[in-house]
Amino acid sequence: MTSSSLSSSFTVTVNGEPQLLDLDNRTTLLDALREHLDLTGAKKGCDHGQCGACTVLLDGRRVNSCLVLAVATQGHSITTIEGLGTAERLHPIQQAFIDHDGLQCGYCTPGQICSAVGALDEADRGWPSAATADVGAEKITLDDSEIRERMSGNLCRCGAYVNILAAINAVSP
């Protein structure tokens, strides 16, 4: 990594490909993806960590990419919606969103899907949420209230929540 007072060049792995970037230090991960790598699947709904539209996976964990400075991802691995699946080879959660119509305008959708991937993994690791009755339990049962709670960082103004719940239920073990 080289840096000046204004910019840095660094390497980050995006959807499996190493990317050498030379960016303004103020650039967020979200803007790096959208404006510099032309990966516009991650959406900007608020730029303040309040909506979840920009959710991507950073080393497998879901993050609001608008709250991550791009330079801080040096050496890390990012998965965006484009890396999760493609039209020819959809990720099971992408397919479930289609099957259950878990989207309308589609603007929150990539964030919802990345968030769902992250949430399922968190539950699999036994991480509790505010809806978990027994936070000491080894195993989390992802019932409706768990899914709703874990997905509440992803706003959907179109109100696709009922169908998003159904989609995640269809793929959750």
Partner: protein, 702 residues
């Protein structure tokens, strides 16, 4: 022969089929590109600088320090901005002078090579102001309150049948209440974004809007250009809910900046900027007076609504208009009063008029039911009109009663004990409530082109807009049926003003209006094909349709969709928390084109209604003269955990007088009635009426 072609009399094969959204794959893979996502060569970023005063003048703008910052190319302000002509919307006459009309108004755009540089330049821009005192609070007794001539979109402001005062004086039961609803912000998830590019004297914009031809028209007028010189593209739009119903500041600012620089410019609003610059729902104060006999038969209905507008543009919400068509009464009066303030102009937000108006009317009906000791459903059935009460015109179809009965059956309403505040489940008080829904089912002229290609497929081009409604899918179904082919033989192209003038996605009129033009063009094309004995000539065949005359020739009947919402609430009277475990909506809206997308849209409307009832409120900061909670942390929309079970269904409704497909729009009706149903249920749970929205915890407790 024609009857087999006419979906209004015989349902065509794809009508009602719940096929998957045709753009679902593009949306779930991130391939769908929205307006701020077109990378043009040499594109420059614009960052809007907003006025920090609600009223006054710009004293000076000193761009020198901003211009010396890295990457900054220019500052666009009223001194160097291209001159604009009036396009019938004075809020679009941006950067034309030194006056500031509302806090958050655009006063400059900083243009730089990168987003970060533009933003830093905007933060550093040195603007000084001469502030004047402002007036920003809606109150019914304000001396500047006046009666507008028309209310949105073009209803007379007042109506009067019979003698309401005499009937109220003579009524056995009178309900006289004041209801209040707050300012609300549409907040589509996709912030407004425009990428603008001039090629000589022609302008191309990728813009996030609900109607590319309406935005094209505004740009033509603003920049004095012929239609052929302006192209507006908006293939994917991340929601609108009225906030993108016409040209809004970003498209004007981006177009001016691109002209100034001679390079493509993108302007994207921040979430915070959206709270000032793209419209909102006006706050309302409403007085509703109902007079009836002891059996609940209405003798008088009086609905007076106060709302606000700005000082530069009149927007008069049609808040009380819903009372003109809902219930039978021999004496019926509605009126609107409007107050101009130093605020941005309110605009459409999902079901303008009906959403706040029905909160007052349907709450008052519940209070009347209670006063008369009549079941709320029975009360509505007793007051079901044969003709539109206000005008005496027939309804093209009206199935409110069927919705009420079906909703009651699905909900299990018959087992309900009407007494309030008697059900407890742990910390929760339980109650149930209902309200009627309605929304006009109008059509507007649109044009469409359909091309038969020599490979046996068809291309349909229409400047429709799919803002999440499913219109792209619904119109493809309609076209395939009209052409009598399988769905995969039709390619529908939308979101491009080059396809000709068409209605916006708004007023629940989009799909209805567009479908008419699509059907008309497809039928014309079939006729042409017949003349060629079914064979497409080498150059293909093209049909064009314009429904201007057809819409103008429609019979003088009144057209509305109806519905009924039933729901259960749980209220913690210690914390004031209200939960809505179960919601049921039953609607009658003509033929439903796509069962899957329709269900989603109706549920989405009900969820926005839930937000309206419990969460959404833009609070005016009197000192600064602006909405205080201007982001998604301060302005709460419903999240996943706020929503529990929602069931939506519809009555099979045959209406031959709407349009050839027999459809009525469903974009708005879902939000109408939800807030009243929740307020009525909260009364049933707690014994307390909630006449001010949202039903915040402090209001439940106090």
């Amino acid at each position: 022969m024609t009857s087999t072609l006419d979906p209004a009399t015989t349902r065509t094969p794809l009508m009602g089929q719940g096929i998957n959204r045709l753009d679902a794959i593009a949306k779930v893979t991130g391939e769908a590109r929205y307006s701020g996502e077109y990378p043009l060569d040499g594109m420059i970023y614009g960052w809007v600088v907003q006025a920090p005063i609600a009223k006054g003048r710009i004293r000076d703008i000193s761009p020198a320090s901003t211009l010396s910052m890295p990457g900054v190319l220019a500052v666009l302000d009223y001194r160097n901005a291209p001159r604009l002509s009036d396009a019938g919307d004075s809020e679009l006459l941006l950067l034309q002078g030194d006056r500031v009309y509302y806090r958050g108004e655009a006063v400059a755009v900083v243009l730089a090579q990168s987003l970060e540089q533009a933003r830093a330049g905007a933060d550093a821009l040195d603007v000084s102001y001469l502030a004047e005192s402002h007036d920003v609070l809606l109150r019914a007794d304000h001396p500047d309150m006046y009666t507008p001539e028309l209310v949105n979109p073009n209803f007379p402001s007042a109506s009067n049948v019979g003698d309401v005062d005499a009937a109220l004086a003579a009524a056995e039961v009178v309900i006289d209440r004041v209801y209040a609803t707050p300012a609300e912000h549409n907040n589509p998830m996709e912030p407004h974004a425009t990428t603008a590019h001039w090629n000589g004297d022609t302008l191309l914009v990728f813009d996030s809007n609900q109607g590319a031809s309406s935005v094209q028209m505004s740009l033509c007028r603003l920049f004095d250009l012929p239609r052929s010189a302006v192209q507006v593209k908006s293939e994917y739009v991340g929601g609108g809910f009225g906030a993108k119903g016409s040209a809004r500041p970003p498209v004007v600012l981006a177009s001016m900046a691109a002209r100034l620089l001679g390079r493509p410019v993108r302007v994207t609003l921040t979430r915070q900027q959206m709270f000032a610059m793209v419209g909102y729902r006006t706050p309302t104060i409403q007085q509703v007076r109902l007079g009836s006999d002891w059996s609940g038969r209405l003798q008088a209905l009086d609905h007076l609504a106060y709302s606000q507008t700005s000082k530069i543009l009149e927007f008069a919400e049609q808040t009380a208009v819903v009372s003109r068509m809902m219930y039978a009464t021999p004496n019926l009066r509605t009126a609107h009063r409007l107050l101009p303030l130093d605020v941005p102009t309110p605009r459409w937000m999902r079901a303008p008029g009906e959403a706040p108006g029905s909160f007052a009317l349907e709450s008052a009906m519940d209070e009347l039911a209670q006063a008369c000791n009549v079941d709320p459903i029975e009360l509505r059935i007793r007051n079901e009109p044969d003709l539109e009460p206000d005008s005496g015109r027939p309804f093209s179809s009206r199935n409110l009663v069927a919705c009420l009965r079906e909703g009651a059956r699905r909900f299990g309403w018959d087992d309900r004990d009407p007494r309030p505040a008697i059900r407890q489940d742990g910390r929760w008080r339980i109650g149930s409530g209902m309200a009627s829904s309605t929304y006009p089912a109008r059509n507007a002229p649109s044009t469409c082109q359909v091309q038969a290609r020599s490979d046996g497929t068809f291309e349909v081009r229409i400047t429709a807009s799919d803002i999440g409604t499913g219109a792209r899918t619904a119109l493809t179904q309609i076209a395939a049926d009209a052409l009598r082919v399988e769905l995969d033989r039709v390619e529908l192209r939308i979101g491009d003003s080059d396809f000709g003038p068409a209605m916006i996605a708004g007023g629940s009129m989009g799909t209805a209006s567009w479908s008419w033009a699509v059907v008309k063009a497809c039928r014309d094309l079939l006729g042409q094909l017949d003349m060629h004995s079914g064979a497409v000539p080498a150059g293909g065949l093209l049909a064009r349709a314009d429904t201007k005359d057809d819409v103008a020739a429609q019979a003088d009947v009144t057209r509305h969709a109806f519905g009924a919402q039933f729901l259960e609430v749980a209220v913690d009277i210690r914390t004031g928390e209200v939960r809505v475990p179960r919601m049921i909506g039953v609607f009658a809206a003509g033929h439903i084109v796509n069962a899957r997308t329709a269900r989603s849209q109706l549920i989405g409307g009900m969820i926005m209604g839930l937000g309206m009832a419990l969460l959404e409120e833009s609070l005016m900061d009197l000192r600064f003269g602006d909405y205080l909670n201007h982001d998604l942390a301060g302005y709460h929309v419903a999240s996943n955990a706020d929503v529990r079970s929602i069931e939506v269904s519809w009555i099979d409704e045959q209406d031959d007088q709407t349009n050839p497909s027999g459809i009525k729009g469903i974009g708005e009706i879902g939000i109408v009635g939800t807030a009243a149903a929740i307020a009525n249920a909260v009364w049933h749970a707690t014994g307390r009426r909630q006449r001010t929205l949202p039903i915040r915890p402090d209001r439940v407790i106090s």
